[in-house]
Subunit: 205 residues, 2 copies
């Protein structure tokens, strides 16, 4: 990309992509930034700025060719490059994510899980193997995984993040409600489901 | 609250709370905004501004009394007011969230789930009942639920959001990767797990 995209813009690209993919074929060849903005409740200038980071180019009056815009977003989000991810911690959430079909929309394959529980190691969930966390380094290499999703309890999350950083994982999606400390060069983003729900609760109080 | 808190600040309050709760007792009575900022990789001014929306008051040089700050954040996030939530759609993710213990840290009780699948209706998951989505209105009243978590496939999410809005739910946490359209007065926030992972992938590409 020519100009570095701000993370806040990057985070909106899947939103545009989801929206465009959800439109029926009958919606026509073109879509304008105004139509996207209005459907998503955003400002038109913002939408246009975000989309300008991709290769898509809109035409005055008519907007973007929808297929081209989808392709540009998919290219930007690497949907066409297969990437492998693993899940650490195969409790309820890890189990659900291992079986979740939505990752493939972004070219992501969740290939395996790791756990320390001997009863779980060696089993399969959604046809994916549950491996021994003590064999993390070899397992990640074997499965060519670059992304990891932490689904362990808060108390175990930092030690898992340490292990992942040590064996070269560069991007971690963390569901444990705890702030992880990682070396420079490793990116962590958090999804705190309960915290998000509490924010909603505070907004309607 | 005296001054309306911006949503971006509100979203950070659970992060502060998680961090403060994770500190060992031995860490001492006081904590400064600088220490919090440094631990969370944020700016000190930002932290101080965010915390100023709560009732907590820091003292020059020493900072906040930790217990008071925790209490102020908990009060702001209504952790002490019991709130009930329901889950719509009892697939893998719905099942995981129904059994997730982290909600109680925010005073939220996930009390029941709704589904349209007759095989699931009438069963219990993590001791919580799975109810018929056609009895949504009565079920929500019976369980005094004000919050809903949508865990149905993308194709069904809008009709679920319509049903929830119609029966008076004011806050929806949506896991379906689709933009929901809701009446004014209903708040929707999205968690797109696959989209978030694709953003991470794009950041390390």
């Amino acid at each position: 990309m020519e100009k570095e995209i701000p993370e806040i813009s990057l985070q909106r690209l899947p939103v545009y992509l989801n929206y465009l993919r959800s439109l029926p074929e009958s919606e026509g060849t073109y879509i304008s930034s105004g139509a996207i903005a209005s459907a998503l409740g955003m400002g038109e200038v913002l939408v246009r700025k975000d989309l300008a980071y991709t290769k898509a180019t809109g035409k005055p009056k008519v907007g973007y060719v929808r297929e081209e815009l989808v392709a540009a977003l998919e290219e930007f989000l690497c949907c066409n490059n297969k990437k492998n991810a693993v899940i650490i911690g195969i409790g309820g959430l890890g189990r659900a994510l291992l079986g979740y079909g939505g990752f493939k929309n972004y070219g992501i394959d969740v290939v395996a899980a790791f756990d320390k529980d001997e009863e779980k190691i060696g089993t399969f969930v959604a046809d994916k193997p549950v491996l021994d966390i003590n064999g993390l380094e070899g397992g990640l290499k074997e499965h060519a995984a670059q992304l990891a999703i932490i689904c362990v309890p808060a108390s175990a999350a930092q030690s898992v993040a340490d292990m992942l950083s040590k064996v070269g994982v560069k991007a971690i999606l963390n569901f444990a409600p705890v702030q992880l400390s990682v070396p420079k060069g490793v990116i962590v983003r958090n999804i705190d489901v309960a915290g998000s729900l509490s924010v909603l609760a505070a907004m309607i109080k």
